[in-house]
Symmetry: C2
């Protein structure tokens, strides 16, 4: 009861200067004392051999009081292979009204949104170690939930992301992805949408298509590719070993991917994750899908893609201040090393 | 020799889509193997009691092969109290030419710039534990170096920042601040400059002055203030316990601060750091100065300030993807707790 009450205080607050959004999600931690450096837990991404899996929230979600599944996939024996259910500790909730609140010069909105978890069955098997079909099934679930939630009123962007390892912000070791359907267009996505639009106006072509064409000619930054998808380390990588996965065909909307493309994507994505796993010894990482908003506008010049960011370094003051990120290894060298890891 | 050669490969690369900058600073880590999760060192911010300080790079900078001091302050006994010298492992260097390089659709510039370290003498005494005069001396050094470097050709922004603790990216325990004089205006600063300009056009007043006025009336988010400066937790805080320190008078340029203001700033800043130290048990944190660029343009509607970001949580996939940051504790509650810590 107390948790529910606190959740209802969640707010989307706008920065008065930059227009950026933050979410004040009070349901997750209660007392100021919890933030003390003494009280931070240590949660490792490494599977522990003598772990009691019967206590895992995601191995046995029904035992640990999670709410109803919104999607469940089963194999031919009827066993579940993938489940999607609402996050027990949501940072936004469909039960909160999207009401505007003004306070002096500031404004905020009630924390309305959907926060779901996408769980695969095997506690120890991350994307790097999955079969292509298993990876394709996850993308299938992403798409299915996307298509459902984009129809909800006041949902304008759907963020799909994955945190792997403590250094990447994962609080539970069992592999899981997350989906956040939100009322606002996030600032980073807005930067890319505007950049792609501007580039199109100046060059009469998609900036991502142009990039792809050059990367395929130049080859030095490619990690893996097939007919439909390509994975490469971006020229202006924000972290060492960052990888982008893009459809080769111009496609603004992730949710319109077809089954054949999904298999091709799963293959290239899995190889990218495996290359990182081998090259960096199972590193902590984040990945997310950047796709067009679902706010009813046209985003014909955008090109959806996945960004994979291994947490090889800690962002420090300079990065936080300036947004100028410092990368220690050039993407050409990183790609070479990743290609080598795939051959071993 | 090998390091020098690698340093000369440092580049400022521009993201083709967003226009953001990254620095590929190859002098810092050499082999792809160094990025493996097995090979990451553990560096704690906590002083170890049996530490051999004679090995500390910053207690005895002359012993550890650092280049010449560019600034040194001494007490009345002639002992040094503060030193500024070039970073031995710079991410940018004045020896690199700012030449443009084009590669396919991309462009990059040679990694020209200045990277300096500002060191206070006491290995164990961070800002939280310093006297007002000691803090004022550090701001004095910041200003002195700023005034010198802003005159250098091709320097358009000077970033002054501080990383404290391993979680905040500090690689050396001895308290030290950093200065990076760079040829580009960083994207986050650009967002604030543009936001402040736009707000002025619509409201005929400075957005920060407006914020200050409201915070002084409302009082709930104030941590500490005196006649000239105020510290408060911002309405749209990006991390729990984030604090901004602002001059109460409209001031676009940090480097124009006078001696009286410097003492007032030192007082408010030290109290803010002490409140965090007490409330969060000596947390890892970053702080930085956001000020107007030194590119010769007028930034009359901007208002310089300091942002202090305790690293109370790990930014995960959602934050990296969207730039929508998730904060667990509302700034009103954080400020209340910090005020209490100051009274203890």
């Amino acid at each position: 009861m107390k948790k529910e009450k606190l959740n209802n205080n969640s707010e989307l607050r706008q920065d008065l200067v930059t227009g950026d959004w933050v979410i004040i999600a009070t349901g997750r931690m209660k007392r100021p004392e919890d933030f003390s450096s003494q009280n931070q837990e240590d949660i490792s991404q490494k599977p522990r051999s003598n772990e009691d899996l019967s206590q895992c929230f995601f191995c046995y979600p029904e035992k640990t009081g999670q709410k109803k599944d919104v999607l469940i996939y089963r194999n031919s024996q009827g066993e579940w292979t993938l489940r999607v259910f609402p996050n027990k500790y949501p940072i936004l909730s469909q039960e909160i009204k999207l009401e505007k609140r003004e306070e002096g010069p500031y404004s905020a909105f009630g924390g309305f949104g959907f926060h779901e978890l996408i769980i695969t069955r095997d506690h120890y098997r991350s994307f790097a170690l999955m079969k292509t079909e298993e990876v394709a099934e996850v993308f299938d679930a992403f798409q299915e939930r996307y298509l459902t939630l984009m129809k909800e009123k006041n949902i304008n962007y759907i963020s799909i992301f994955h945190n792997y390892g403590k250094k990447a912000g994962a609080s539970i070791a069992h592999p899981h992805s997350q989906l956040l359907a939100i009322p606002v267009i996030s600032p980073y996505v807005r930067l890319e949408l505007d950049g792609a639009e501007k580039y199109y106006q100046s060059n009469q072509r998609c900036v991502y298509c142009n990039m792809l064409k050059y990367e395929q000619e130049n080859k030095s930054r490619i990690v893996y590719q097939n007919d439909d998808f390509i994975a490469f380390c971006p020229f202006a990588a924000r972290s060492s070993f960052e990888i982008w996965v893009l459809p080769k065909k111009h496609m603004p909307y992730f949710e319109r991917i077809n089954d054949k493309e999904k298999i091709a994507l799963a293959k290239v994505f899995q190889k990218s994750m495996y290359a990182l796993y081998k090259a960096l010894n199972n590193p902590a990482l984040n990945f997310y899908i950047h796709t067009s908003p679902c706010d009813g506008q046209d985003y014909i010049h955008y090109h959806w893609h996945i960004e994979i960011i291994p947490r090889t370094s800690t962002w420090a003051g300079f990065e936080l201040e300036t947004g100028v990120e410092v990368t220690a290894l050039p993407p050409e060298k990183a790609a070479e090393y990743l290609r080598k890891a795939l051959k071993e």
